[in-house]
Amino acid sequence: MLRRALIFLLPMLIVPLAAAQIRIGSLYNVTGDMSSIDAPGNNGLRLAAKLINESGGLLGQQVEVVTVDGQTDQTQLTNAASRLVNVENVVAVAGINDSTFALAAGPVMQAAGVPFVIAGATLPTLPEQIGDYAFMVPFGDDAQSFAIVDFAIDQLGVETYYMLYDQAYDFTLAVREFANQRFAERLGAGALLLEDSYQSGDADFSSQIARLRALPTPPDAIFMSSVPSDAGNLVQQFREAGFDQPILSADGFDTPLIVEVAGDLSDGVYFSTHTSLSSDDPQVREFVAAYEAEYGHPPENAFAALGYDAMMLIADAIRRAGSADPAAIRDALADTQGLDLVTGTITYAPGSRVPTKSVTIIGVQGGEYLFQAEVTP
């Protein structure tokens, strides 16, 4: 066991020799259940670092990204975070797309005084719960819920709605709460005709459908607060039951499953998300092309773009701070204003570490995910 202890102590001796680079930690679950969104995130982050290095690096130094795999396991993830911060001595850590994992790993960075840029988790209270070294790249669930509701009211003319939410996730509970709040604010309490719930993984929604059908007047829209794995089934079953109204959701619907499972029935589904990878925006096109050139295939989902943006956000902060000191980076991050990134423009209001960012609305039409609008709620 003593020998094993020495093996761990060894990297702590080697690392200081490599101090001529700026070391950034990439904390993702590259293997395990979350790998479908985390591996692209890691790819995006590393791609950004590579492009930065090709155009001269940061402050005259090359950026080195150290990726340690969380293995979608709480113990491994927190150990990985600790390794990045305490052994690899990185000056900033970016990554993680899930709020529960972010809450487990965040305290490690906070305690060590290393900025933690959360790439893809959307719980708006994360930075508050973790501490002043935590920053979010994505908008919070409040922003995206407000955005999709505003879009529905302003662009689709929705006046009444039905709410169906998943009881199993912080994310879906939060979206439900914020969506209800926005509808009530803008249309009054009478806009909600009926609210119902289910548990993630339920295969059959006929009881919820029956209760909806029993309403005297049908709602103008159906809001589904769900995670990707249920999205396809929900759309298919409700459409097959004869409900043609627009279906609304948050970024939990940003999944190919909707078209794969519901096929033609998926027309008229609208959801808020971080970016539309098929958008004409030159930054998006540039990112997609670079990703494809590097990895041989287009980015799998928006989380790849979020990882890319996380690295770019840190790079911008380092440039403005003129230093790679973690405390200076943290202060520079907090001052980020109008930074144009692939997934939107990031500005942190004073005291807030959740960005005011525009939300992309996507509508499904003819089997295609089409950009509808960009809303800043």
């Binding site: 066991m1 094993r4 202890a5 093996i7 761990f8 102590l9 990297p11 702590m12 590259v30 293997t31 590393r46 990726t67 340690v68 795999d69 293995q71 396991d73 709480q74 113990t75 927190t78 150990n79 990985a80 600790s82 390794r83 911060v85 305490n86 052994v87 529960t100 809450l103 487990a104 305290p107 490690v108 305690a111 060590a112 719960q129 009881q167 199993a168 996730y169 912080d170 509970l173 993630s200």
Partner: protein, 351 residues
């Protein structure tokens, strides 16, 4: 000095050594090394306590982590910061909103809660045998997870509890580990342990000889569950956030693999298995690079297969690190105790 006395001295030396290392770590080690030391201790507690049931009594229980979950939630609720309780648990009654317990009390409460669950579940569960018992205990794991997911007012469901005060230190963990090893060793070398061994070897014959099966199986089950509950409390206050997904199959099988690789029935084996199978995979992750994530898990699998080929009864079988090993006799440390049930393969190199 008799050889048995030498073993006692050896144990106390190792225990003192563990506590000394824990104190040294708290005083000055790199945070990463401190984490590794703390997790190692946690796994030692989990594996040794599981050994009491799976190894000594021969019951293949898969529900150990369910007890850990009970202890984690109960102790987390007991120490949850008062200021945040109204926001996190809005529907819980007044007495809860103002009752914060000290850390040691919370840990004991978590252990007691787990022990209580074991006592209640044990009656129907321990009547089963073999594969049926294994599945029944797995059902316990599932039930605890479902309760955690659905009792929203108390557990916050799948969201889990965040903001648990991070009170666990290496000293806490290794102090409990020292106690668990002591308890397990005392059980193993006592008359109680002898009876557990009899139940393991042939429970029908044991019952026919007057051994009260239920009472003894229950005792072992409850003691084991108590320590699992304490381990859960230590875990919750180490990571600061717990969710139902943490206490699931992955952790269950990780602990069972550590137990089996170390040696079913060997306390030393449990310690070795826990330390080895926590630190070795961590060391392997240093071999991973940009394109080779997952290599550490592959290497671990290879190591496990090799161990199973060359040491099918685990690294230590049923033996202990002992200076009194050479004695013959009916004790669990001696030759008769080294025999395994029909379900295991015979071990030619047992003492």
């Amino acid at each position: 000095m008799t050889r048995e006395r030498l073993d006692t001295v050896l144990y106390w030396l190792l225990a003192a050594g563990a506590i000394a290392v824990a104190l040294w770590a708290q005083a000055g080690w790199n945070n990463y090394a401190v984490r590794l030391l703390t997790y190692s201790g946690l796994y030692v507690i989990l594996v040794v306590s599981l050994n009491i049931v799976n190894g000594f009594v021969g019951i293949f229980s898969l529900g150990h982590i369910g007890f850990m979950a009970v202890g984690a939630y109960v102790s987390a609720l007991a120490t949850y910061p008062l200021a945040r309780r109204p926001a996190t648990f809005p529907t819980l009654p007044e007495w809860f909103q103002s009752l914060a317990l000290p850390y040691p009390v919370a840990l004991l409460l978590g252990g007691a809660a787990a022990a209580l669950v074991a006592a209640v579940i044990g009656f129907p569960l321990l009547r089963l045998r073999g594969h049926y018992l294994a599945l029944g205990s797995l059902a316990l794991l599932v039930i605890v997870e479902q309760l955690a997911v659905n009792l929203h007012p108390v557990t916050r469901g799948s969201r889990g509890l965040a903001g648990i005060p991070m009170l666990t230190t290496p000293l806490w963990v290794w102090a409990v580990a020292v106690v668990v090893v002591y308890v397990a060793a005392r059980i193993k070398s006592s008359g109680f342990g002898l009876l557990l061994g009899a139940i393991r070897l042939d429970d029908v014959a044991a019952a026919a000889s007057g051994v009260r099966l239920t009472r003894y199986k229950m005792s072992a089950f409850v003691v084991s569950a108590f320590f699992a509950g304490v381990a859960g409390g230590l875990w919750a206050h180490l990571v600061g956030v717990i969710a139902p997904s943490v206490f699931s199959y992955d952790l269950t099988f990780r602990v069972i693999v550590m137990l089996i690789i170390g040696g079913l029935g060997s306390i030393t084996g449990s310690v070795v298995g826990a330390l080895g199978l926590f630190l070795l995979p961590e060391a392997f992750t240093y071999l991973e690079g940009a394109g080779t994530h997952g290599l550490s898990q592959l290497l671990l699998a290879v190591v496990l297969v090799l161990v199973m080929i060359f040491r099918p009864n685990g690294l230590l079988g049923r033996r202990e690190l002992s200076l009194a090993r050479a004695r013959d006799g009916a004790g669990p440390g001696g030759r008769l105790g080294a025999r395994t049930t029909g379900a295991d393969r015979p071990n030619p190199d047992d003492a």
